[in-house]
Amino acid sequence: MKNLYRAVVGLAALAALALGLGFAGPAYYASKAELVQRVKPHDEAMAELTGEVGTLIGPPEKMIIADPKAFLEGTGDDGARLADDDYMQSNGVYPLQLKSVEAVSNYVRLASGGALVLLGVAAFTLRRKLA
């Protein structure tokens, strides 16, 4: 019974840790994320013709792009940093959306929070039986 109690308490501690990470993770990534606008850049001649850096791909979004070489000079109208979509594709750079981090974190918080409550109740019950 004592071993079971210890195991339940240990699992509850892990659930608490996961819950903490579920809150800390998005906060960490949010500090790293930037408003980014993906662009298919024009070559020099097309940029001169159109007066544009390139064709915008998708809406501006909060993203984490690990490779600084992916960024182009300048910003979009909304202040978003311009990221070279062609460079990212050819170099396997996958832009991580902050939205994805937050969605996964929500699942982690929900699962770990639920587990913490159940394990806490189990630990409390076992402790009463042991006493």
């Binding site: 993906r38 298919k40 024009h42 001649a45 097309m46 001169e48 013709l49 159109t50 064709t55 915008l56 791909i57 998708g58 809406p59 979004e61 594709q89 996958y94 959306q97 939205k99 994805s100 969605a103 996964v104």
Partner: protein
């Protein structure tokens, strides 16, 4: 009496002059295929994604003086890439765009109205997955007469750049979201199109 045979000629000449302002542009036929960009943006619970293809062809007609025109654009649905092969397969599948049966989407204008500057309102028939609906969308049209700049960019004649962005409700075009993905994928997508037409 001598004016009578001249009058029809004058009318014809005036009419010819008016029609001569309308220029024809070919989309996707030049070496600037990468400049043609069709995207659709979908919002999903876990990750927003953008599907993209450069395989856009068509013909445009534009009168820079009267500021009107017409055109037909064809998009190769089967070539749309979202960056993830499995997602591409899903989109080409029967529940989504059924690209085997309906490999292209088309837009054919029925009315072009000038608003101001380079902005227009375009009404036309959008056909996706075999379903045709009349829609009205905003568009930006830039006419660039032949110059050293257009030639340096690889175009032989005058250039017409057309841009548009509009939302489409998927179920209007028989595109169904599979049950496991319902509520997790947006029921509408934002279509964005940038094409460059080259006068021949």
């Amino acid at each position: 009496m001598k004016l009578i045979p001249i009058l029809p000629l004058a009318v014809f000449a005036l009419a010819s002059g008016a029609f001569a302002q309308s220029k024809n542009f070919s989309v996707g036929a030049s070496g600037r295929a990468a400049a043609q960009v069709f995207t659709f943006e979908s919002e999903a619970e876990l990750e927003d994604f953008t599907g993209l293809t450069h395989k856009v062809t068509g013909n445009l007609s534009f009168d820079p003086k009267a500021k009107t025109g017409s055109g037909r654009i064809v998009v190769d649905i089967a070539s749309i890439d979202t960056g993830i092969p499995m997602r591409n397969d899903h989109l080409r599948g029967a529940t989504w765009f059924d690209a085997t049966k309906f490999p292209t989407a088309t837009f054919e204008t029925t009315k072009v109205a000038h608003k101001s500057g380079d902005t227009y309102t375009v009404t036309g028939k959008l056909t996706v997955k075999g379903v045709t609906k009349t829609i009205t969308v905003p568009a930006t049209v830039k006419y660039m007469p032949q110059s050293e700049t257009t030639q340096r960019a690889g175009f032989k004649g005058d250039v017409l750049q057309v841009k548009t962005s509009f939302k489409v409700t998927l179920k209007d075009y028989n595109v169904t979201i599979p049950a496991p993905a319902q509520g997790k994928v947006g029921e509408s997508v934002t279509i964005k199109l940038t094409v460059f037409g080259s006068a021949s």
